[in-house]
Amino acid sequence: MNVKTWFADIEINEDGSVADCRPCSQDVQQLAERLLVFQADPKQIPPARFDPVQNAIECGFAAGETEYYSLLQQTCIAATRLKIKNSYSPDLRIIHAVEALDDIDEAANLLAERLGIWYGEHFPEAGMLTENLAKFVAENGLRQDLQQDSQFHEAARSSVGMEMDAEDGAIIKAFAADLTSLYERRHVIEAYIHKNMKQLAPNLDEVAGANLGARLISMAGGLQSLSRMPSSTIQVMGANQALFKHLRGKASSPKHGIIFNHPLIKNSHPKIRGKMARALASSLSIASRVDAFSGQLNPTIKEKLDRKVRSIKGGSK
């Protein structure tokens, strides 16, 4: 029997004794690569009670146990390093981008709310919110600094808001500028996701749209794992609370999770949302599989979904 260990190719007799042994050199990098090749495709496995330590010493690979274990540890650490380095997939970039987007949203909402209250004390008549307000304040500052031709000039003169001086103005203006740049960063990241989704997952991008598609990848933990999910999982992903309540037997099953944000479901009548969700989820799972394993855009997925959608809508009338 011919077996492979991490340090040698060994020929073993029927009775378990060693007939021939060809040890490798002690080069750790080479040994690590050999280990990974074996790990990916295990062949010629040593028999169950084979003792590699004694064998390595007898066949001259290592002088003693200490040297054996030291080489083994170095090799395994080197192999593990290599494997970790090769374990990063391109969808990781999308996942981080999507998560960064969520973080920015959270932070921006908090800051926008603060700016709304703060600037509202001073100029309640401006009547703007979030991004518009941030831009307005960053550009114009306090109400007394408004240009003559501004549409708010009149409202500013008769405002009932609190008076603020130049020092207040500088602070609030800088605060608004920070918030504006946060919104700008959000747009840049969004554009980045749109661009990369077209390359990474063209079918998912077409069926789900870049944002929802990227979010699905991020929730599944990667395109590969998304493609391995059954469509019923994709359908309720993001509705965890409702799903577990259902599994405990205390509620009916959720119709949709994160895919609710797709216009097909959001804009449909509640009565047909369940059907829509099923149809959409099955198209999404097919799309993610095509993306994960071929990567080519296949327009028939979207066409089939459209046909299914028409028949659901037709049937509901």
Binding site: F38, Q39, P46, Y69, L72, I77, K83, L247
Partner: protein
């Protein structure tokens, strides 16, 4: 603090009415995961928190420890290496083969391996023992903490491949990851049947014990391979 031996190379430190489980630090001066270091008479001890380690909980719940200072151990599901580091303290003249599937957590464990000469890291899938069969030698103890739905069969396949006759399998069964809706007791029973009632598996239950209050819905199991 007063040091008492709990079991071979596992210690308890007594401070007033409080008693802590601890191991003697193999690489003195360095912490692995922010645990407390205590210096007593020229030796440094690392406090072993049962709430953070299923093995520590198993020992405190009076499951027998099969570890000796020269044990060869196969550790399945090493995660970031917190418990592995304590095992490495205990078997300081032996070896720990630490198998972990996730590259992300393995990344955190590598620095620990570089500090301790007796940990052999293996980034591999514990349900495929063939994939590391050309590295791991026959071992005295297999410890498993993998939280997978097919825990028992993963343990079994590793036992068949690597456990010496007379060796021990220690495992912590996490009911919630086998089946999140079934009753824990039903899950435990079913997992033990998978583990023990195989033809010619030659396994014998030594002791089982729930790990509450340290870990809820976990069962600690010690099994011996008879021949």
């Amino acid at each position: 603090m007063k040091v008492k031996t709990f079991h071979e190379y596992i210690f308890t430190l007594q401070q007033g009415k409080k008693r802590f489980l601890a191991t003697r630090n193999l690489s003195p001066g360095s912490q692995v995961y922010g645990e407390r270091l205590v210096q007593v008479e020229q030796a440094e001890y690392r406090i072993w928190e049962p709430k953070r380690s299923k093995l520590a909980a198993m020992l405190l719940k009076k499951l027998p420890s099969p570890f000796t200072t020269t044990s060869k151990v196969l550790y399945l599901g090493s995660a970031t290496g917190t418990t592995v580091s304590h095992v490495s303290d205990i078997v300081h003249q032996g070896v720990v083969y630490a198998v972990e599937f996730s590259p992300r957590t393995m990344r955190d464990m590598l620095p620990i391996c570089e500090e301790r000469p007796n940990i052999i890291p293996l980034l591999a899938d514990a349900s495929k023992p063939q994939s590391y069969a050309n590295v791991v030698e026959p071992v005295d103890v297999i410890f498993q903490d993998v939280a997978q739905p097919d825990q028992a069969s993963i343990a079994l396949s590793n036992v068949q491949h690597f456990l010496k006759p007379g060796g021990y399998l220690l495992m912590s069964i996490k009911a919630r990851s086998v089946d999140s809706t079934a009753k824990p007791d039903t899950v435990f029973k079913q997992q033990l049947i998978t583990l023990l009632e195989q033809d010619n598996s030659k396994l014998e239950l030594v002791k089982k014990q729930k790990l509450a209050p340290f870990h809820i819905d976990h069962l600690g199991v010690v099994v011996k391979k008879t021949e």
